[in-house]
Structures are given as C-alpha cells and as structure tokens.
C-alpha cells in the first residue's frame, strides 16, 4: 500500500503537467475549483472517514475562510499572504471552540448540530451589513501575492493550488499511516476500545475537527483570492452537502477517496450543465439535479464503498504488506 500511494502521487505530478500543454482557461478554472474543493474534502475525509464524525457544516468554515481573506484585505489592507493564513486559522480556532461541546454528540445529532451551525453562519454572511456586504457580497479582493509572485492569472493559480494540494496530500498520507491515523480509525470502530488502548478520544476528535476546519478555511481563502469577489451563495447548506458527497463517493477512510470524489462531483456538475441542454432542449436546472441524483444513487448501489475501491479490480492482493518493513 505504501508503495502504491507513492506511485500514485508521482503519477498525479505527471498528470498535472498536461493542462500546461493544453493551456485552456476553462480547463484551468475547472481544475482550480477541483483543487480548492479537494483541500476542503481532504480535511473532511479525515474527520468523516477516519475519525468517523460527520459534519454538514463545512461550507461555513469554507465561507469563513473566504470572508476572512476578503475582509482583511479589502477593509483592513492586510498583506494577502497573512490574510490567507488568517483565513485558515480563524475557522480552526472557531472549530476548536464549538467542537468541544458539539463533538460530544453522536451521529445524527452531530449531523444536525453542524448543519445548524452552517445555516447560522450563512445567515450571518447574508445579514452582516457593512462588514460582509450582505447578499450582494464584496468585490475587489486583490490578487494573492507571495514574495514577488502575484498570482494574477489562471495558470499561475492552477500551479499554486495544486502545489498546495500536493503538500497536503503528502501530509495526509503521513497522518493516516501514523499512530495518530490508527488512533483515529480506532475511534471510528469502537470508542470504548480506543479509550482502553489509551486514546483520548475527545481530544483527538477535536483535533481532527479543528484540522478539517483549518483546511476548509484555507480553501475558502484561496477561493476568495481566485474569484476576487465573494457572496454568501457559494457557502450555503447545498455546498456542505456537496462536500459530504465528495467524501462518500470517493470512499470513506481511503487515501485517494477525497480527491477522486472532488474530481468526480465537480466534473459531473460541469458535464451535466453542458450535456443536459443538448439532450433535452429547453431543460431547466431541475433536469440536471434529477440526472445527478440518479447517477449518485447508481454509484452508491454499485460502489457502496466509494469509487476508490474500484482499484481493487485491477490489483492483486499484496501478500508482502504483512511483513515488517525494511
């Protein structure tokens, strides 16, 4: 498994060169969106797939990151890189505060609590008056500048976000193969037994929640700098559901699942938007949603463990994995 993931990361690195050859702005912008969502879903994947705690409120952390970056740069003239850091840290701190109580809840109750939080934050974006710009949002967010490089076109931004995603993937790879990764899994499987092995479940769950909020915030900040305009609508409950879908479709508790899920869900959205009007002339958005729903139900019926389990059909079981390494 270790080897396979290294290979996968190297393959990914090669794949990322292809768009540079094609050099299409549409492709870049789709890939930027995929990377930004992937960053959110990497953290959510740790929370849901490993620690086993569901959240229907991650669009809120994503949005808080976006608004933090937007407000700090346009209202307070902070340097963009510092604002990006703040965009990650602020949602992280908030998660650490609310998680302490929220994570005591289980399953459906946790889902409801995070959902409520998401809705509340969305209302605040809408009703924030001067600070958030209300329903029409705020524009004029400057380009992200790191050192002397200004990320002012799609290609540069594409390279930036995928580089960041790659670093995050490496970190996630380390995490899930570590003692901490095993402890997270053990919480998901049996909290009793995990505690009995010495795992401070409450603390570790809180760390996973905070980590996921941090990544969602970072992604939100990147999003704000990329589109240079921000409004409440991309951070609604609907987006939270999309994030959860990406994790589940990709495969809970798998390394490649979140990335795969983000690629599939975003591509599917794009594809349906293009194709449905061709097939059914005059079709409204509801047709897209219906077909989208049918595909998702189909996926869940035929690949209940998520798309990343498809790989099993192409791979022989590796007996070698059992032996100690080195």
């Amino acid at each position: 498994m270790h080897l396979k993931n290294h290979k996968g990361l190297i393959l990914l690195l090669f794949l990322l060169v292809i768009p540079l050859k094609i050099d299409s702005n549409y492709l870049y912008s789709t890939l930027v969106v995929i990377a930004i969502y992937s960053i959110v879903v990497q953290g959510l994947g740790i929370l849901m797939g490993y620690a086993g705690q569901v959240s229907f409120g991650h669009a809120a952390f994503f949005g808080l990151g976006g608004y933090t970056a937007a407000i700090l740069t346009t209202r307070f003239n902070w340097p963009t890189l510092i604002a990006l850091l703040a965009a990650a840290i602020l949602p992280g701190i908030l998660a650490a505060i609310i998680g302490r109580q929220t994570l005591k809840l289980r399953e459906l109750y946790l889902a409801l609590a995070t959902l409520g939080f998401g809705i509340l934050v969305h209302i605040i974006f809408n009703e924030g008056g001067e600070l958030t710009g209300g329903p029409s949002g705020m524009s004029g967010i400057p380009n992200l500048t790191i050192g002397t490089i200004s990320f002012d076109n799609d290609q540069k931004f594409y390279l930036l976000v995928w580089f960041m995603l790659l670093l995050i993937l490496i970190g996630i790879y380390n995490l899930v193969h570590s003692r901490t990764g095993r402890a997270l899994c053990s919480i998901r499987e049996s909290e009793y037994a995990a505690e009995n092995a010495g795992v401070d479940c409450a603390r570790l769950k809180l760390q996973a929640f905070t980590f996921s909020a941090l990544l969602a915030g970072l992604a939100g900040g990147l999003y704000a700098f990329y589109v240079s305009f921000i409004s409440p609508s991309p951070f609604s409950f609907h987006t939270s559901v999309q994030f959860v879908l990406m994790v589940v479709i990709g495969g809970l508790g798998t390394f490649w699942g979140p990335l795969l899920g983000a690629v599939v869900v975003v591509s599917l959205n794009e594809l349906l938007r293009e194709i449905v009007p061709l097939l059914i002339p005059g079709a409204g958005g509801e047709y897209q949603i219906i077909i989208y729903g049918i595909i998702l139900v189909g996926l869940m019926i035929f690949q209940p463990k998520g798309l990343s389990s498809i790989g099993r059909y192409f791979r022989l079981p590796l007996k070698k994995e059992l032996k100690p390494e080195g």
């Binding site: 270790h2 970190g171 996630i172 380390n174 995490l175 193969h177 570590s178 003692r179 901490t180 990764g181 095993r182 402890a183 899994c185 053990s186 499987e189 049996s190 009793y192 037994a193 995990a194 505690e195 009995n196 092995a197 010495g198 795992v199 401070d200 479940c201 570790l204 760390q207 996973a208 980590f211 508790g253 007996k319 994995e321 059992l322 100690p324 390494e325 080195g326």
Partner: protein, 255 residues
C-alpha cells in the same frame, strides 16, 4: 498489592450490580473472578477501567487512586481489558488492531504525524515488529493482514487479548477470554496466560470454565448477586460451602 479495590458499590435502578466489593491483585499474579450470570463481574471491570463510575469505594493501582479518572488515563496507568461482547476495530487488519493497541508505546501527536514520513519513523518500526511478535506468540501471525472481522470468533477473542497486551500493561482484565474457544484452543490459551504471568503481567480473569480457572488462577473471588461470597486459593474455593451452594442448581461443576 498492584491493584486494590475496597467498598465498591454500584446499582442500576433497583438492581444491585455490585455491593461492597474489596480485594487485591498482586503483581504478576492471576486472580479469577467467577460467579453465575448477572453476578456483577463485567460491571466490576467497567468500574475498574473507568467506563462506569462507582457509587462508593476506591480503586488504587500501585497506591494511586484511579476512581474518577477517564478510561484513557486508566489505560496509561497500566490497566487494559478485553470485552465480553467483542469490541474489535473491525475494518482494520489484525496487525493494525494490535498496533492500535500499542498506542501508548509511542508519542507522536497529530501535528507531528502530519509532518513526518512514516517510513522514516523508528518508533513506528518498533511497534510494527513488537506487534508481529505478539501475534506470533498468540498464534495469529498468518492472519496479520486480514480484516479483523474475517477471523473466526475464537480467533477474534485471541486478537482482543493481543491488542490488550500491546501496550505492555501491568494488569490485564480478561472478560471470558475462552468463551467460544474449543477445548484445545482453551488449553493453549491457558498455557499462554500462565506464560504471560511468569513474564510479570498480572491478570484478572472472568471465566466460566472451572478447569481453566482452577488451573490458571492464584486466587479466586466469587461473586453472587453482586456480593462477594468467597475469596481464596483454588483449593479453598473448591471446599467453600457457600460457593458450592451458589453453584448448585446450575450446570456448572466445580472440578
């Protein structure tokens, strides 16, 4: 004494689960906890490991009070357990189960785990090797790469024991470890527990199979309806009139 209980009481609604229980476990010894169904044996394990708060009484390990500590703190004080109704990490492999049990043997936290490569980690290698040795000893080495749920029931019990031992605890609480094992497996387990004892691990053993109990235990505590009705060596317990009375009418035979 390694572990000392005194005056432990707990009831559920109208049921007295355990009442005024007190006994001690010496370092590197096996104490068997026996009694009919519903006698309060598992409840006592839940209290010792911090899963249930007692209404009265104290539990000390090496003289340190542990009532009120959280389960994970009690684990790091050196007490682990197995569960009567198995609590394996089902979708993880056999080896991962044991490695997860060794959580306390290494230190790396969330942030450091994120930042450092697992291949370069000496701690990780050590835990992997130790876990494989443990599996070898308990006879699960060939199944190391299987998901835990794919093991037959008897082997799942053994895996629970291996996982409980992985952190090298001073005291292990075994809740009916031989339930579901066939006679030869039971015998192998008994031998293993005795070997473990000579290496210095103390155990409390809940077990219905009297042959195992009489063979493995240094001391025996008998519970009935939450009360401690006898304590002593296997020979003393076999001759104890109250014990014989409590077990009459049940199919249990005292060897």
């Amino acid at each position: 004494m390694l572990l000392e209980l005194s005056g432990i009481s707990k009831h559920f609604g109208g049921i007295v689960a355990v009442k005024d229980i007190g006994f001690g476990v010496k370092e590197g010894s096996i104490l068997a906890l026996i009694g009919p169904n519903g006698a309060g044996k598992t409840t006592l394990f839940n209290i010792i490991t911090g899963a249930l708060p007692p209404e009265a009484g104290s539990v000390t390990i090496n003289g340190r009070e542990i009532v009120g500590l959280k389960p994970f703190e009690i684990a790091s004080a050196g007490i682990t357990r197995t569960f009567q109704n198995l609590q394996l990490f089902g979708s993880m492999t056999v080896l991962e189960n044991v490695m997860a049990g060794a959580y306390l043997r290494s230190k790396k936290g969330f942030v450091r785990s994120f930042l450092s490569f697992p291949g370069t980690c000496r701690e990780e290698k050590k835990i992997r090797e130790e876990s494989l040795i443990l599996l070898e000893e308990i006879g699960l080495a060939e199944t190391a790469g299987l998901p835990a749920t794919q093991l037959p029931f008897g082997k799942q019990r053994l895996l629970e024991i291996a996982r409980a031992l992985a952190s090298k605890p001073a005291l292990v609480l075994l809740d009916e470890p031989a339930a579901g094992l066939n006679p030869s497996e039971t015998e192998a387990l008994t031998d293993y527990l005795k070997k473990l004892k000579t290496k210095g691990t103390a155990m409390i053993l809940i077990e219905h199979d009297m042959q195992t109990v009489m063979e493995a235990a240094d001391r025996i505590v008998v519970l009935n309806f939450g009360q401690m009705i006898a304590e002593g060596t296997p020979a003393e317990i076999q001759a104890h009139p109250e014990v014989i009375k409590a077990y009459l009418g049940e199919d249990e035979k005292i060897a």
